[in-house]
């Protein structure tokens, strides 16, 4: 349970908003739940709803609306390549396609070992450093700019090695 495992973090999140506006904490709490459970199942959604006094349906609609929440499991690491117009003008589409080919997955799919999902996303405000992607992993989201397929594969390999050591 989140309330048992993270009482201090939950309290710190709630403290940001007026006491009668607990609902504002729902989005940060969903990130916390996603970190804990990997994805946001109905159980996770219900648990978050209980913390802020919302119906699970209302919380689930947020999960569906916002792209950084995931209601089904994907790879532990999501490589989210920006293929929007400014990046596409600088080679992002061929970068994304070639990366998929090297990983032997189609866009949106996860590698057989469950490690990496490759996804296309909209503008990430890094247009002057294309090709680029963000790495969404349980502990956060990190930008990787001025990428080549080689550098992306090297990062994925480094993550695999790190996980084996851990």
């Amino acid at each position: 349970m989140l309330s048992e495992n993270y009482p201090e973090e939950i309290e710190a999140i709630l403290a940001k908003y007026p006491p009668d506006q607990k609902r504002s904490a729902v989005m940060p709490l969903l990130f916390l739940a996603q970190r804990e459970y990997g994805s946001l199942s109905l159980e996770a959604v219900t648990e978050v709803g209980n913390l802020v006094g919302l119906q699970s349906t209302e919380v689930a609609s947020l999960v569906g609306f916002y792209t950084l929440y995931h209601d089904r499991e994907g790879g532990k690491y999501r490589i989210q390549v920006c293929t929007d117009l400014p990046c596409a003008l600088r080679g992002a589409q061929s970068f994304a396609d070639e990366l998929c080919e090297k990983l032997d997955v189609r866009m949106g799919e996860t590698t057989p070992d469950g490690q990496v999902t490759v996804e296309e996303v909209k503008c990430l405000a890094a247009c002057d450093h294309a090709p680029m992607f963000q790495l969404q992993e349980p502990n956060g989201i990190h930008y990787h700019e001025d990428q080549s397929v080689g550098s992306a594969l090297a990062l994925i390999e480094a993550l695999r090695v790190k996980d084996q050591v851990d």
């Binding site: 504002s24 916002y66 950084l68 117009l85 596409a88």
Partner: protein
């Protein structure tokens, strides 16, 4: 132009460290207003500077503040750091490299608005940046620059970051407020405007990151100094984000009114491989596309001149398109974007972008019927002026302007008329 107003970190090394920022005059402006000026004096000064909102709408900042409903408290200030317009990447550089000037700007705005709580709404993708801002806010608290009874006055201020979770529409200020209240990021019907009923139904100011970052130098150096930069109605500098087919994409801070030609050819190094320029998107995806004629290239990038040639400056994210790029492909990408980002609240936008995307699917397959280009145009016209926020208009204007200005390129994508072939 040699001196930066907003991108000062490019002139001063280590400006993202609090000690360096303070050594270079940091927080003098905030301290001076809290100890010596009334909120109304600050509003008047910002009005006089001519500063206009840098997020896209270009609305005069001081005027926006003066709309706050009198005598209703608490009030809130929200920094809009949901930078998501394709081609815009200025706020990210400001917050990463010159964070304290931005935070001082938030503090100045909060004082002028008589708000004791300010939220910084960052797009969820700015995860690492937001964690860093949290640490910077802690440092400000430790030094007594944010917190209770500042500089021995009665003024207290708390600042909090809030992460979005992936939704372009949350850059629209009322959708942002909905999101900050823990709801779907969908725009509100206006009026009431946020200055009357904003966050938690209280009077609220929402300002863009770049707008706020302009405030400390305006306070310190005066409204006249600021108004002397730029043009008469578009004062000050602007951070232009330039991307696409140029040698040196990036942010360039220049006076408003600088020509497209100077930005593209002098600062960004021109078009790679000696290719010719074909078109310019002056405001990311959110403005009509401009053919890169000599007249357009010589146009000043300010809030008055760009509309005169048939587009708008918006957040000044210039996407450059060279002669090899197919304009229908550009518009299909833009339509994909808006179809994905439409929040779904207004039917013309939700369904219209979906229709346009479907037609573009056939256009890009070269399987569209000749009349479908007209249909595309008609759907675009059908969206315009019928939605709660500007997203629908932007999606439609991108397409209708391209069909009007680059029609022959669209006609190359339709199937041949079989009756004529015989």
């Amino acid at each position: 132009m040699t001196e930066h107003v907003v991108l000062r970190h490019r002139d001063i090394e280590g400006l993202d460290q609090l000690d360096t920022y303070l050594e270079n005059g940091g927080f003098k402006a905030f301290k001076s207003i809290v100890t010596k000026k009334s909120p109304q004096q600050v509003i008047n000064l910002v009005k006089k500077s001519g500063l206009r909102g840098r997020g896209g709408a270009g609305f005069p900042t001081g005027v926006k503040w003066s709309f706050l409903t009198p005598d209703v408290f608490p009030r809130y200030v929200v920094a809009n750091a949901d930078e998501s317009e394709p081609g815009t990447f200025k706020d990210r550089e400001i917050m990463e490299r010159n964070p304290f000037q931005f935070l001082e700007g938030v503090a100045i705005c909060a004082y002028a608005a008589q708000a004791s709580v300010a939220y910084i709404y960052c797009r969820g993708e700015f995860w690492d940046l937001t964690k860093e801002l949290d640490r910077k806010i802690e440092e400000l608290k430790e030094r007594g620059l944010v917190g209770k009874k500042l500089f021995d006055s009665d003024y207290s201020l708390e600042m909090y970051t809030h992460l979005g979770a992936g939704a372009y529409i949350c850059g629209e200020e009322t959708a942002l407020l909905e999101s900050l209240e823990g709801k779907l990021g969908q725009p509100r019907l206006r009026p009431p405007f946020p200055a009357a009923e904003g966050l938690f139904a209280k009077p609220t100011v929402v300002n863009n990151v770049e707008t706020l970052t302009n405030l400390p130098p305006i306070i310190e150096r005066g409204a006249n100094w600021y108004a002397s930069i730029g043009t008469e109605k578009s004062t000050g500098t602007k951070v232009f984000s330039i991307s696409g087919n140029v040698e040196r994409p990036g942010n360039y801070e220049l006076p408003l009114g600088t020509s497209f030609r100077e930005l593209i050819y002098e600062h960004a190094g021109g078009i790679p491989n000696n290719l010719a320029i074909k078109a310019i998107l002056p405001a990311g995806a959110s403005a009509p596309i401009l053919p890169a004629t000599e007249e357009v290239l010589d146009t000043g990038m300010d809030y008055e001149s760009v509309p005169e040639v048939g587009s708008s400056l918006g957040s000044a994210s210039i996407i450059v398109i060279d002669e090899t790029v197919d304009i229908p492909w550009v518009e299909s990408k833009i339509t994909d974007f808006f179809e994905h980002e439409s929040c779904g609240k207004c039917t013309p936008c939700r369904d219209g972008t979906y229709w346009m995307k479907n037609i573009f699917g056939r256009v890009m397959d070269d399987s569209a019927q000749p009349q479908e280009i007209d249909l595309l145009y008609t759907v675009g016209i059908g969206i315009q002026g019928k939605c709660l926020c500007a997203l629908g208009d932007f999606a439609a204007l991108a397409v209708t302007s391209a069909v009007e200005r680059f029609r022959p390129e669209f006609d190359l994508h339709v199937v041949e008329d079989s009756s004529k072939a015989a």
